[in-house]
């Protein structure tokens, strides 16, 4: 046979051509990760344990731990995050099982709509919910007008409100991960159990749930970390004694230096806790991940009896609540002088005009920063994905951990880290005063989606395709351009669109980093909302939703349906 001989003859030449430059062209990637992820984090941790004069001290940490207010805030945050996870599991698990295993009226439509809450930037979501469920919101006005209620029902101000908002916003992360895991299970695994008499809940407990544990844990960890880091939702409904909210409030005030230092300590603490959660979750996931190939997916069963009606009802109720913020934002964006009526009495384009023409800075900035951020993400994320999937460059394990870590780090922590890290001249530039820091912080925070998509696409493409190109003498870059790229561009682009969507939604890090003139739409929404200009806030929210929906739609079209993997915190 001749082919092996040919491969053997050309292999040394190809390896020589590729290997030497690999480290060279990879060096900017290493440098980027070190400078824009590790360095600011390092500064954050150092700042938390040094005085203004640079002396090592644990005084601030001790201060934090001794302060009963902060201790309570920490406990509150943990309880809230845990509650959110429990709620998301209850809703997300049921939704996933119904969608994957059963057939009922409207199933595929509900499947698509379950993605709905993800398009909603968290800040816009809670604002929209207030418009509908708030004291003077649509529901309460209707109840008072038509059912004679004297006082409005408190649907959302307080713990239950935050919990409701968060569960409705984050449950799709559990659903997506579980749908992915469940559809990969081979039917025979369950049939083998059934043949022995293991049915229903018993089968669920012994066979099904253990096998979907990785997706389950990934989703739950992500929800926990996101709920733990969310500072805006509690603030909007009037809760301040949470750790993330305290970090934000302490940093944005510039009066009290001690409070500012507390903010840094909290930021560092949140980063450490996120790392701990992540490590624990990763350990569970890797222990429980099995390479089970599905030969034959489990057949969907039609629901019978009452379940036939209860399943659609469940989705209608959940999706109605999930859809409420959209309704609220729409009404407020187009309503003229809306107060004390269930719906606006007359409609106007004034708010939209205000945010698009009179003060277009928010939209312009978001587009500017997003474009620059996606450019950075592609320039760094695609090579990084390639390094992880295909190369044998040193430090791949560490790079993989960094990518996963970034996904889990609270935006507030990254924001604080950037403020502290780039506050000093670096090569004569104080980076925190140059606009590029905005796209940089956005890119760093949302890059993991693109890295993972690239990585996954490369894994899905057999190496022999590249090897056969190498065997006929194509060089490394040539192979990438002619063979690799045509096969993975869809996946990469879908990943980049996901990055883009979350870049546009980002508020936590940018709200700490921005200087006047750099405000994004999310910052604009926050500013308008807190200053009582609800119409403009809603109009900006409306535009942002449209942009996010368009991006998600494009990503969905490129990849088909399987996107659960992109949202997991484990694996990859």
């Amino acid at each position: 046979m001749t082919p092996p001989a040919v491969a053997a003859a050309s292999a040394p030449a190809v390896t020589r051509r590729v290997r030497v430059p690999a480290l060279v062209w990879a060096s900017p990637i290493y440098l980027f990760l070190a400078l824009f992820i590790l360095f600011p984090l390092y500064r954050l941790f150092v700042d938390a344990v040094t005085t203004e004069g640079g002396q090592f001290t644990l005084a601030y940490v001790a201060d934090f731990l001794r302060d009963p207010f902060y201790r309570q805030a920490l406990v509150n945050s943990l309880i809230l995050s845990f509650g959110t996870v429990v709620g998301c599991i209850a809703v997300g698990l049921l939704a996933a099982f119904l969608l994957v295993r059963y057939d009922f009226w409207g199933r595929s439509t509900f499947g698509y709509l379950t993605m709905l809450p993800i398009i909603m930037p968290p800040l816009v979501g809670i604002m929209g919910l207030v418009f509908v469920l708030g004291r003077a919101g649509t529901v309460n006005v209707l109840l008072m007008d038509y059912l004679g209620l004297r006082r409005p029902i408190n649907f959302i101000y307080g713990w239950h409100g935050v919990l409701l908002a968060m569960v409705m916003h984050y449950f799709p992360l559990i659903t997506l991960n579980l749908v992915d895991g469940l559809s990969k299970l081979d039917a025979s695994l369950e049939e083998a159990a059934e043949a022995m008499g293991s049915r229903g809940l018993r089968k669920m407990r012994d066979i099904v749930l253990p096998l979907v544990t990785p997706g389950f844990v990934s989703g739950a960890t992500l929800v926990f970390i996101l709920a733990f880091a969310d500072f805006a939702t509690p603030l909007v409904v009037g809760l301040q004694n949470l750790i993330a909210s305290q970090a934000y409030l302490n940093i944005v005030q510039f009066v009290d230096r001690r409070l500012f230092k507390m903010g840094i300590v909290i930021g560092a603490l949140m980063a450490i806790m996120a790392i701990i959660f992540l490590v624990v979750a990763q350990r569970i996931v890797t222990q429980r991940e099995y390479a089970v190939l599905s030969y034959r997916p489990v057949e969907r069963q039609p629901l019978r009896g009452a379940a036939r009606f209860l399943a659609p009802l469940f989705f209608i109720v959940v999706l109605t609540i999930a859809f409420m913020p959209y309704l609220g934002v729409m009404l407020a964006a187009f309503g003229r002088a809306w107060s004390l009526t269930p719906f606006p009495t007359s409609f106007t384009l004034r708010h939209l005009d205000a945010v698009l023409h009179l003060t277009p800075i928010y939209v312009i900035n978001t587009i500017r920063w997003s474009a620059a951020a996606v450019a950075i993400i592609l320039a760094v994320g695609v090579p990084l994905g390639w390094i992880l999937a295909r190369s044998n460059l040193p430090g791949r394990g560490a790079m993989d951990s960094i990518v996963t870590l970034v996904l889990a780090l609270p935006g507030t922590a990254i924001g604080i880290a950037y403020i502290r890290g780039f506050h000093f001249p670096l090569l004569g530039i104080i980076l925190s005063r140059v606009w590029i820091i905005m796209p940089l912080v956005l890119a760093v925070r949302r890059m993991p989606y693109t890295v993972r998509a690239t990585f996954a696409s490369l894994l899905g493409m057999h190496r022999s395709m590249e090897e056969s190109a190498a065997s006929v003498g194509a060089s490394g870059l040539r192979i990438f351009k002619d063979i690799t790229m045509p096969q993975i561009w869809r996946g990469v682009l879908a990943g980049a669109l996901f990055s883009l969507m979350f870049v546009m939604q980002e508020a936590a890090a940018t709200i700490l980093v921005f200087l006047p003139g750099w405000e994004t739409m999310t910052i604009g929404i926050f500013t308008y909302y807190t200053s009582g200009t609800f119409g403009q806030a809603a109009a900006l929210g409306f535009v942002l939703i449209l942009l996010c929906a368009g991006t998600l739609y494009a990503a969905y079209h490129l990849t088909g349906a399987r996107m659960g993997g992109l949202f997991g915190s484990g694996g990859g």
């Binding site: 049939e191 083998a192 059934e194 043949a195 022995m196 008499g197 066979i207 253990p210 096998l211 089970v292």
Partner: protein
């Protein structure tokens, strides 16, 4: 035999006119079978022929749309798999990856609430039965394909099933392991004398293992018989083509008499045993096995003889295989089983070929759609 006493209840399995449809496709178009007590019975056919569906109906994973399944005299329609007393081995083994070997095998006993003091010895006995002692604490991911397959068999046997169902259990293994496990399965079945129903698309596997075989195609049973029956007396052209190797040569019937027919083929006038009904003038296909064709050297009394050109000569050690061209579009394979006493004919030469009319069969051509052996695989 193991120290633990196995109590087997041997069971007859009967299918009566079973029909199973999936949307518009009839996966079983009226299947009737009787599988005898303690028999090793194989469902054989190309993929999509309905064999796996038949197995799953017997297991109880599917309910038949019409017809009935009996275990002994008990109708099984509507009885869930767990209550049928079956043990099943899936094509991909379906071992639970999160459980150890011991847990996998013990799981069914736990579900059946077997006293825990009894579980350990039974698991041990089942694993010894398949030669897997000492691997109890491994997880399936740490086992080779062959070992996983044995765990799956142990897991099926530990419940003392009345019927053992095997769905292409060897198809994911490499050739060497497959051959070894094949004989192990057969030996185990003969030791236990358990009624065993085996699904495969591999005719060689079916011939080696089975007491009897049902050949299926397009949801129907074409023929049921012992391996010898099927090989020597195929009832249809499809069976003749599917079991072993056959040279199939189309032609027109010239004459029919006393169960023998003369067929006008591109290779001359052939004679053979009539299978089915044939009339002069009808299109038909002659089937003759490579080992029944004789080259001039080893000439004995041949009823039919003709000349052909050697296209390819292959030396296989225990036999020499020729590919001959015997007229337009007629390629014949001839196996000469004793190469030592045979003069090797190089490609390009003409040879005389002959066969006994009693070793050839002539089938009506209305089943000619099965002439393409790849067709079954594509379906």
């Amino acid at each position: 035999m193991p120290a633990f006493a196995w109590e087997w209840t041997v069971m007859q399995v009967r299918l009566e006119g079973v029909v199973k449809r999936f949307k518009t496709v009839e996966a079983m178009a009226g299947v009737s079978l009787t599988i005898r007590e303690g028999e090793f019975f194989t469902l054989l056919g190309p993929s999509g022929c309905g064999k796996t569906t038949t197995l799953r109906v017997i297991a109880g994973f599917y309910d038949p749309d019409a017809g009935a399944v009996y275990f002994g005299e008990t109708p099984m329609n509507g009885v869930p798999p767990a209550d049928r007393g079956i043990g099943i081995v899936f094509q991909n083994y379906a071992l639970w990856p999160h459980m150890t070997v011991r847990e996998n095998v013990a799981y069914g006993l736990r579900i059946k609430r077997v006293p825990s003091s009894e579980i350990e010895p039974r698991v041990h006995a089942a694993l010894r039965q398949v030669g897997l002692e000492g691997l109890e604490d491994r997880t399936p991911g740490q086992l080779s394909g062959g070992q996983q397959q044995r765990v799956a068999v142990a897991r099926a046997l530990v419940l003392n099933p009345r019927v053992l169902l095997l769905d292409e259990p060897l198809s994911n293994l490499d050739a060497k392991v497959r051959a070894r496990l094949r004989s192990e399965i057969r030996r185990l079945q003969q030791d236990l004398r358990i009624t065993t129903i085996y699904v495969t698309h591999d005719q060689e596997e079916a011939l080696v293992l089975s007491d009897r075989i049902a050949v299926m195609d397009a949801g129907r049973v074409l023929q049921i018989g012992t391996p010898v029956d099927l090989y020597e007396h195929p009832a249809t052209l499809f069976v003749a083509d599917f079991i072993g190797t056959n040279n199939l040569v189309p032609g027109t019937v010239a004459d029919v008499a006393d169960g023998m027919a003369a067929l006008r083929t591109p290779a001359g006038l052939w004679r053979g045993v009539v299978v089915g009904s044939l009339a002069p003038g009808a299109e038909a296909v002659a089937a003759i096995r490579p080992e029944n064709l004789v080259l001039d050297e080893g000439a004995g009394p041949a009823d039919v003889s003709f000349r052909a050109r050697v296209v390819l000569t292959q030396y296989l050690g225990n036999l020499v295989r020729y590919e001959l061209e015997a007229g337009p579009g007629v390629t014949l394979r001839v196996d000469v089983s004793d190469p030592k006493s045979h003069r090797y004919v190089p490609p390009g030469q003409d040879v005389a070929v002959g066969f006994r009319a009693s070793s050839a069969q002539i089938f009506p051509a209305d089943t000619a759609s099965h002439l393409d052996p790849l067709e079954g695989a594509r379906r």
